[in-house]
Symmetry: C2
Subunit: 115 residues, 2 copies
DNA sequence: GTCAAACTTCGATCGGCATCGTACTATGGG
DNA sequence: CCCATAGTACGATGCCGATCGAAGTTTGAC
């Protein structure tokens, strides 16, 4: 079975705020969350646009999963990732929205044309 | 003059999200923000309920100030602190509310009586 | 059965932040 | 003027997390 390889997913309501903030503070991890939030479909670990090694990426995915932010499951040899949006929002209302909003806003400010 | 002793206060809109999260991730600093948010009046550096040394506290106040979260001014020998609620909310809508809400919720869960 | 692809696990390294004690500065009271 | 009060500034220390490479594991394709 493939399910055996899938580590535990805590209920977001059981995750301390401290752990959630620690998960969201790392830029690469925020990028992961942003890309998941932006796209309509789940993304395999290797499908993200990240400038880090595979082993480091694995570490980041684990931190996000243990913080209740993402769900992971296998599809063949690929480990898929999906954002646990609703469940997480129930536990931490407004938090993800605020962080993502600020991220997008900053990304926008870096691009414009006014320079 | 006393004003000379007051370091610069950046506009929250100029503070990167990364810096804000780094400011809010430290428990002692969140405690400071919470106590400011809870009370109706400003609080001097020495008026907080913190289990850390003075020099460490000074460090935390600086980090919060530089993140655009608090305003500091002198009243005699006391350095007063106030939460920059509205200005900060304009720059990071919903963020402070979400963090404070989660904090309060957790604090409540630790006390009850069901245990 | 054999190979390649996709990740994970394990140790080691390295840099940054929280922490503290000590010394220093500014203010106000007696 | 002198002292107490309230913080700040400055190293020094110690820990924790991000990072990587190398080796291991699981799956699917052929």
């Amino acid at each position: 079975m493939a399910a055996d390889r899938i580590p535990p997913h805590p209920d977001p309501r059981d995750v301390p705020l401290q752990q959630v903030l620690e998960a969201l503070i790392e830029p690469a991890r925020r990028t992961i969350v942003e890309q998941l939030s932006a796209g309509p479909s789940d993304i395999p670990c290797g499908g993200f646009d990240l400038a880090i090694s595979k082993s480091t990426a694995t570490h980041h995915f684990r931190v996000l999963r243990e913080a209740g932010l993402i769900r992971q499951y296998y599809a063949g040899t690929s480990r898929m990732n999906s954002l646990r949006r609703e469940e997480f929002d129930e536990a931490f209302p407004g938090l993800l929205e605020a962080v993502l909003w600020a991220s997008v806003r900053e990304a926008g400010l870096r691009v414009p044309g006014v320079a």
